[in-house]
Amino acid sequence: MAWHDGREDLDRLIEHNKNCHPDEVIYVWKEWSSSDGITWGNVDDGGNTITYNPDGEDIVGENIFDEIDLEAIDAWYAEHFEELVSKYGGRVIAAVDGEIISVEDTERKADEAARSKYPRKVPFVTYVPKAEEIECLLL
């Protein structure tokens, strides 16, 4: 895939946004076209990451401002931890809004399964340790 123009600008912008302080993220709406007909954008004013094809619908990615209540996720995990270890110890779970969506052998599989069911959500994915692993880990 070759880039018609502007790819270097996009790379620099993405690099800047990845490394800068969150308050210094630059939000732009500009197009960069590749030879396969896909036009790429970066982040719009609303914080949405966007990749789109000029002949089709925009693909809106995750919002970098999307606020997930991590403390609520954590509280749910703490409350159900013993039960989860008993049921799923040694496996990986993916949960959305306190509901277990998938149980897999790897984080990637669990994440993909949950996102396929809830494409607009970011699942909480974690390996659930076995009881004996916890004892070893904390000795």
Binding site: I14, K18, E67, E71, E107, T126, Y127
Partner: protein, 132 residues
């Protein structure tokens, strides 16, 4: 100092695990994961699967050797990402590795420099006080 982010220990029988839910952002994608807060670790070490989830080619990062508690040498790859703790998003250098530990570990580098962290054993909580 701002209000703390409060996380609960994960209880299992008489054992309490100081782990927290956090977010990792790279390029255009978030991942939510769990990590054990490890005051003895200089670097954070996450499963390579977490890197895969956000599309990070982690092996392009800086490769450094570490030795675990058993004396085994292994390698991690340091990469710059954004980390969300509570509602606070910081830039952090995280290490990614493809094995050895079932738990993601949250070490001191970049994390403890952005938060004053209190282990409240009596109330089974970890409190993250943001410096900024």
């Amino acid at each position: 100092m701002s209000a703390p982010v409060i996380y609960n220990y994960k209880p299992l029988s008489k054992i309490k695990i100081p782990s927290i839910a956090l977010g990792i952002f790279y390029d255009r994608k978030w991942a939510r994961a769990e990590a054990l807060v490890d005051t003895g670790a200089t670097y954070s070490v996450f499963s390579s699967e977490v890197a895969d989830t956000v599309g990070l080619k982690y092996q392009k990062g800086k490769k450094i050797p570490l030795i675990n508690a058993s004396g085994d040498k292994f390698y991690i790859y340091l990469n710059q990402v954004k980390v969300q703790i509570g509602k606070h998003v910081i830039n952090a250098m995280l290490g990614f590795s493809d094995g050895l530990c079932p738990y993601n570990l949250l070490g001191r580098k970049d994390i403890f420099e952005n938060f004053k962290i209190c282990f409240d054993e009596k109330n089974s909580q970890i409190l993250f006080y943001p410096f900024a």
